[in-house]
């Protein structure tokens, strides 16, 4: 899609904003609507937009699919690790209050934030992977 100057330009402008907005949603899941999943979906959408505007080849140069493979695993890993850390700290699985932090509030906040980030990473990576695999034609 070389000729679609407009789409490309607008995408260039929008993509960073969409990405930041996604991260904003991630961070404000505790205060307002949103959370890891929504953030991941929005972030994924920004990459989908990139693919649509600039083509798969360019996108694969920019976003290595290997990286996304890694992130797919990493997200769940982070989530589960938070849970296991709580266990190591002496609580039940995912019992944030047992985390060795000064206040319970902070512990809870960090714990929730940690798992939200895990969700976010997995969702982003998976959605992008899904899109990559679905959209890419096999040229044979």
């Amino acid at each position: 899609m070389n000729e679609h100057v407009i789409v490309q330009t607008i995408s260039k402008i929008l993509i960073p904003f969409i990405q930041l907005y996604a991260l904003y949603v991630l961070a404000h899941g505790e205060l307002g609507p949103g959370g890891g999943f929504q953030a991941g979906a929005i972030f994924g959408a920004s990459i989908v937009l990139y693919v649509l505007a600039f083509g798969m080849k360019s996108a694969k140069l920019r976003f290595k699919s290997k990286v996304f493979d890694f992130l797919t695993s990493a997200g769940v890993f982070i989530f589960a690790t938070v849970g296991v850390l709580c266990m190591i700290a002496g609580g039940a699985f995912l019992q944030y209050s047992s985390l060795p932090l000064p206040t319970k509030k902070l512990a809870s906040g960090i714990g929730i934030y940690g798992i939200e980030i895990g969700v976010f990473i997995t969702v982003t990576a998976v959605l992008v992977t899904i899109f990559f695999e679905t959209a890419e034609q096999d040229d044979d």
Binding site: H4, I6, V7, I10, I13, L14, F17
Partner: protein, 104 residues
């Protein structure tokens, strides 16, 4: 009733009017290229009006900033989407309606 609310009401009225008219246009116009005119921008203006009305209602705070951001994005995104649509139709060979043609 303070002044913000009144301005808001007026702007809401104008915006809704625009939007309604745009919808009528979408219904009435004979073909795709003519329909895209009201849908693409009368709509946009109407929406901008409504949102700006809400800004006046809200006064100046973070929420109205957010509204403003929405307005800006709408103004950036809507014409692009309209363009994308028109372009898609044009490329795949939809002939623009000329005066005297049959309605589609």
């Amino acid at each position: 009733m303070d002044i913000g609310t009144i301005i808001c009401g007026v702007l809401l009225f104008i915006g809704c009017f625009f939007i309604l008219v745009a919808s009528v246009g979408v219904l009435r116009f004979p073909d795709f290229f003519t329909r895209i005119h009201p849908a693409g921008k009368t709509d946009t203006l109407g929406q901008a009006c409504v949102l700006i009305g809400l800004i006046f209602y809200e006064g100046f705070d973070f929420i109205s900033l957010k509204l403003l951001i929405i307005v800006v994005f709408l103004l950036v995104v809507n014409p692009t989407a309209t363009y994308a649509l028109a372009n898609a139709a044009f490329i795949s060979g939809v002939k623009p309606w000329k005066k005297g043609d049959k309605r589609q």
